[in-house]
């Protein structure tokens, strides 16, 4: 089993089709919706997918064939280490506990793999160390 994050972009023409549902069903994948947005320009869906690698590849190809733009997402936000002052303002804001206080060194650790892409840390960080990578 592998776990990956994808950002899917749907054009207005295909926003109404249950493509994600079909992918889940047909390829037996576990999908966690992290973020969803629909506007005049279409829809965007940020998902975390878990499943067998072969099924995952097939599922993603299915989406691409259906006209969905698919981008694998390794980082939603990243931290400018020079600007981070290790204050910890982000600790109580992040819903995914992606920030951790190391109680030995009192440095704030950023565990990007836990990020669920909510974006809350960006305007929380007073020295502006958290930067948006996508969306």
């Amino acid at each position: 089993m592998v776990k990956k994050k994808y950002l899917l972009s749907f054009t207005p023409a295909i926003v109404n089709e249950p493509l994600t549902y079909k992918m889940i069903k047909e390829y037996d994948l576990l999908v966690n919706i992290l973020r969803a947005e629909v506007s005049e320009r279409g829809g965007r869906l940020l998902i975390e997918v878990e499943g067998k690698p072969s099924q995952m590849n097939k599922g993603i190809s299915f989406l691409k064939d259906a006209g969905v733009e698919v981008r694998e997402l390794n980082e939603y936000v990243n931290r400018d280490e020079d600007r981070c002052t290790d204050c910890g303002a982000c600790l109580s804001i992040c819903p995914a506990d992606a920030f951790e206080m190391d109680k030995q060194t009192w440095k704030v650790l950023f565990k990007g793999d836990r990020c669920i892409a909510c974006g809350l840390c960006i305007d929380t960080c007073p020295p502006r160390a958290m930067k948006l990578r996508i969306w």
């Binding site: 290790d86 204050c87 910890g88 303002a89 804001i93 009192w106 020295p127």
Partner: protein
């Protein structure tokens, strides 16, 4: 046991001084007792690094050819106050750029100057017989400017509030983002490392005390604004925001490691300042306070959704609880965030310790103690007759 400033400085000069950080000394007093620790340790160093809005810099630009009496000054588009002499200005850390954005201000100009970057200077004038020039536009840097020093009217607050939010919307405050329904709590003091909490009566800290500020050696210039001694105490230490310091230091010796521009979303700009104060262990009482730990120091939890100066604390919590990552409020676990960097506070206390051990930093006896009694007066709407 008594010890004098002179004795301590003699030891520093000889390289015999025993210095410990306010964190280290806690363990020593726990293990060997107050009396023996007082005998052994000469100086305890403290540190703090957090948002200190009441900060700014006096700048003297030097004279132009032909000279100008600057009436309006902008640095990178941020107005500086010029109601001083011809080429002096004061740039406040929280002053905003004149374009409506909240996220660039005086603090950024100060940080960029300290980083050695070029800063755009524009000035206008009305022109006089001795100062004929009416405008100037140029670049300055810390290298080219005549003088630049930080003068911060209120820094190093003795204790501060813990902020939380009972309302059902997110609040954007100078205490950071406060999530609805007591979703989180933020605090600001460095607790057991914080200068004025470790010498709560300011027995050793006064006007003229040499301190570490922003990476440079500076001084306590005066009592800080909003200095207040009339607050309840616990273990002899104020439970509410109490005393403050006005501090001064040469920007040309500072480093961006200890000065950092901040932007609080939908609130505005502030400046994070790193300050360290050495506490000479003159006697056992000074040591007793200097060795108080996060378990012994408490802060009030305030509901920032109540927009009144009279809000009552919901409860008092220790810095040990705050630093554990959560506190309990109405039976619910509430995650905590520090706004000041304990990591940097530690770096400062360590650095100051090293400077004293290596003979680079002498302890100074205050020229004048800070006020023993002073209350913080509110501003009420009054008529001419009532004042």
């Amino acid at each position: 046991m008594k010890r004098t400033y002179e004795e301590i400085n003699e030891k520093i000069k000889k390289g015999d001084v025993v210095v410990m950080t306010a964190e280290e000394v806690i363990k020593v007093v726990e293990s060997q007792g107050l009396e023996s620790a007082t005998k052994e340790i000469d100086v305890v160093t403290t540190g703090t690094f957090g948002a200190m809005c009441s900060s700014g810099a006096f700048l003297n630009f030097g004279h132009a050819e032909p000279p100008i009496k600057m009436q309006r000054v902008w640095l990178n588009g941020v107005p500086a106050y010029t109601g001083l002499a011809a080429v002096d200005a004061y740039i406040g850390a929280t002053e905003l750029k004149e374009n409506g954005d909240l996220d660039y201000g005086g603090a950024h100009v100060i940080e960029e100057l300290i980083a050695g970057k070029p800063v755009h200077l524009r000035a206008t004038a009305y022109g006089t017989d001795c100062y004929p020039r009416r405008s100037i536009e140029t670049y300055i840097s810390l290298k080219t400017i005549n003088q630049a020093y930080l003068y911060n009217p209120r820094n190093a607050y003795q204790n501060y509030a813990v902020a939380t939010n009972s309302s059902d919307t997110t609040l954007f405050t100078y205490m950071g983002k406060l999530l609805p329904n007591y979703g989180n709590a933020t605090f600001s003091s460095a607790g057991q490392l914080s200068p004025l909490l470790k010498d709560p009566l300011c027995r050793t800290i006064g006007i003229g005390t040499r301190i570490f500020i922003g990476g440079a050696k500076g001084f306590v210039a005066w009592e800080g604004t909003q200095y207040n001694t009339t607050v309840p105490t616990k273990n002899g230490v104020p439970l509410r925001p109490g005393r403050t310091l006005a501090v001064i230091g040469d920007m040309k010796e500072m480093s961006t490691e200890f000065i950092r521009a901040l932007y609080f979303h939908r609130y505005g700009v502030s400046l994070a300042v790193g300050i360290g104060v050495p506490i000479p262990i003159l006697d056992q009482e000074v040591m007793k306070f200097a060795s108080l730990s996060d378990k012994d120091l408490f802060a009030p939890v305030l509901d920032y959704s109540l927009q009144s100066r009279n809000r009552k604390p919901l409860k008092e919590v220790s810095y040990a609880e705050l630093r554990s990552g959560s506190i309990e409020l109405f039976g619910k676990k509430v995650k905590t965030s520090s706004l000041s960097s304990y990591y940097k506070a530690r770096v400062i206390a360590e650095k100051l310790k090293k400077m004293i051990e290596e003979g680079e930093f002498l302890i100074s006896r205050p020229v004048q103690p800070l006020p023993e009694e002073r209350s913080f007066k509110p501003l009420d709407i009054r008529s001419k007759e009532e004042v």
